[in-house]
């Protein structure tokens, strides 16, 4: 990883000339023009259009009709809108902390100078590269109430497992359980963080006779807060966008127990062609994400430790 840290180099003889030449400016803008075009056409344009569409009634065939805040008023009165928001929020609340803690725990175990650690790291990370679709199909079968391996395993220890995805109460926790299978990304990022903690800190603590739990809470955890912060932000952003599992495994059921926000958005947009309403939904979630991220960033000085000069 050290190769990726930009060193401070002396400026090149060409770059150090007194002023930026016209030619260099021209070349710069020529070289970044693919990004500028792509940004305008595929990014900024659609975001602005999405905001506009949120205030219109648009069925994809006739032209959009301005309706003011009707879509938002309608959403706020729609019990399914609130339900979907709650489902995605609950999912995030369960899976994000779980992935953080389990990922950190595995990373700590793997961060020992023992044989076979890199092999185990490979095993733990592997499920993270498997597609959501294939994984969803596999887990439907794992969760099968009568013939799935999960309930077969539970039966071995005398537990009669629930109907998992087919049970209103268990459907969402099932998908949380499945998300744990992808703990590899969180584990890997934590592992990277652990390896960047200077060993001198631990050596000093050991000389002072600090017990293991003390070393963990006074060195490991504080030094790891930037990584935890990153995992938290990306974890929440990712979890609130969950779609594939709901679409493939449960179709939002049973009784809308897994009607994720983006699934409901997709249905409004592409199954019922309420494109205006769906755009309003998209912007609402976007706003929630921005506010949440801003809140986490604002709170970070209280709990994220950055070494001086590093930020």
């Amino acid at each position: 990883m050290t190769t990726l840290v930009p060193p401070t180099q002396p400026r090149s003889v060409f770059a150090s000339r007194n002023s930026i030449s016209q030619r260099e400016t021209r070349e710069f803008y020529l070289f970044v023009s693919p990004w500028i075009i792509g940004f305008l056409v595929f990014m900024l344009g659609p975001i602005v259009a999405s905001l506009y569409l949120g205030f219109t009634d648009y069925d994809a065939f006739s032209s959009p009709k301005w309706v003011g805040i009707d879509n938002f008023a309608r959403l706020f009165q729609d019990p399914l809108f609130w339900k979907s928001l709650r489902v995605s929020a609950l999912y995030s609340l369960m899976s994000v902390p779980l992935l953080l803690v389990v990922g950190l725990f595995i990373a700590i175990l793997l961060n020992q100078a023992l044989r076979g650690m890199s092999f185990l790291r490979t095993v733990y990370y592997m499920p993270a590269v498997i597609s959501g679709v294939a994984a969803s199909m596999l887990w439907i079968w794992i969760f099968h109430p009568d013939f799935g391996i999960l309930n077969a395993g539970l039966a071995l220890i005398g537990i009669r497992g629930p109907a998992w995805l087919w049970d209103q109460t268990w459907a969402l926790p099932s998908i949380v359980l499945m998300s744990l299978w992808g703990v590899g990304s969180s584990m890997l990022i934590n592992l990277g963080g652990l390896q960047s903690i200077p060993t001198a800190l631990y050596e000093a603590a050991e000389i002072d006779g600090a017990p293991a739990w003390r070393r963990f809470f006074s060195i490991t955890l504080p030094m790891l807060t930037p990584v935890i912060f990153y995992n938290l932000v990306t974890g929440i952003i990712g979890a609130l966008q969950i779609f594939t599992q709901g679409y493939i495994m449960t179709q939002g059921g049973p009784n809308n127990a897994t009607l994720f926000y983006v699934l409901y958005l997709y249905r409004n947009g592409f199954e019922w062609f309420r494109l205006g309403l769906a755009s309003a939904m998209a912007w609402l979630l976007f706003l929630i994400l921005i506010l949440l991220t801003a809140f986490i960033f604002k709170s970070s000085p209280m709990w994220v430790y950055y070494e001086a000069g590093d930020a």
């Binding site: 693919p34 990014m43 659609p46 079968w141 391996i149 890997l188 594939t244 679409y247």
Partner: protein, 283 residues
């Protein structure tokens, strides 16, 4: 209880192994279950308690699963999309990153902030206008919506990663080339790109996995069966089999679909690990 230092260490090591190996077993069970089911006879699939080792082993599930939907087309489509994305991203993102790393111009820093800010923008905010845009272009139900944006540097993370990498490359070589009359593009093409193979490989690997697995984009932009990618084709296959007891074929088809990614992962782990850790450290 007083334990000697080395006894405690041994105990800790043993406990770590027990925990790590049981965790690894839990991670592997779903895959074992998938392989096992994909090799079973239809009559052996729905039994309780389930048998892990299929007897007899039915290899014909694999070819059979491929004939139930036009999987040949799906694989061709996915391969086209994946390769085109890799080529597009490598060329366009590296060109843009090179400009940010090496050229100076007014407004550069502002533009770079803009690039970084797009990392956070989720796809679903853009997907409805993109759907309308592609419809007016006449691109719906073609692979173009999944390919073209890649050629316009449509991934801020790749730009960032490449720029960071380019900044570590020593400038002396470039200066020498410049003195010999090499153009700016020449510096990018003949010096920077060849020296950046590790970073380019990392991006190629990431892009492969992302595009091979991508679902929501193809689901929205593709329509007819023959234009589907593997991910969408599989989902459709599963939906159509909902009632039929064909889990062995479903698992066989799903297993085939993840093999390319798994093989790639095993041979390029180094890049995965570097890339993921990099996102964590710098993000």
């Amino acid at each position: 209880m007083v334990l000697t230092q080395s006894a405690r260490r041994r105990f800790q090591t043993a406990l770590s192994y027990v925990l790590l190996l049981s965790g690894a077993a839990l991670i592997m069970i779903p895959l074992v279950w998938m392989v096992s089911t994909s090799l079973k006879e239809p009559s052996a699939v729905y039994t309780f308690p389930p048998k892990i080792v299929p007897d007899p082993v039915r290899w014909s599930n694999f070819p059979e699963s491929l004939t139930i939907a036009p999987f040949g087309r799906f694989y061709v489509n996915t391969t086209i999309v994946t390769l085109a994305n890799i080529v597009g991203h490598l060329l366009s993102c590296s060109l843009v990153a090179f400009a940010f790393a090496r050229l100076r111009a007014p407004g550069k820093n502002l533009l770079f902030m803009l690039v970084l800010s797009t990392v956070m923008i989720p796809f679903y905010v853009r997907m409805i206008p993109l759907f309308i845009l592609y419809r007016t272009f006449g691109w719906l139900d073609t692979l173009l919506p999944l390919i073209v944006p890649a050629f316009f540097a449509g991934n801020a993370f790749y730009i960032f990663l490449l720029r960071q990498f380019f900044l570590t490359i020593n400038r002396e070589l470039e200066d020498a080339a410049r003195i010999d009359g090499c153009s700016t593009f020449g510096v990018y093409w003949r010096i920077i790109l060849p020296l950046s193979q590790p970073a380019l490989a990392m991006i190629a690997v990431f892009d492969f996995v992302f595009n091979w697995n991508d679902f929501l984009g193809p689901l929205i932009f593709l329509n007819s069966v023959r234009n589907r990618t593997v991910a969408v084709g599989l989902a459709y296959f599963q939906g159509s089999l909902e009632t039929a007891p064909m889990m062995h074929l479903l698992m066989a088809a799903a297993l085939i679909s993840i093999i390319p990614v798994l093989v790639l992962f095993f041979f390029t782990q180094r890049y995965f690990i570097q890339g993921i850790v990099f996102t964590g450290m710098k993000g």
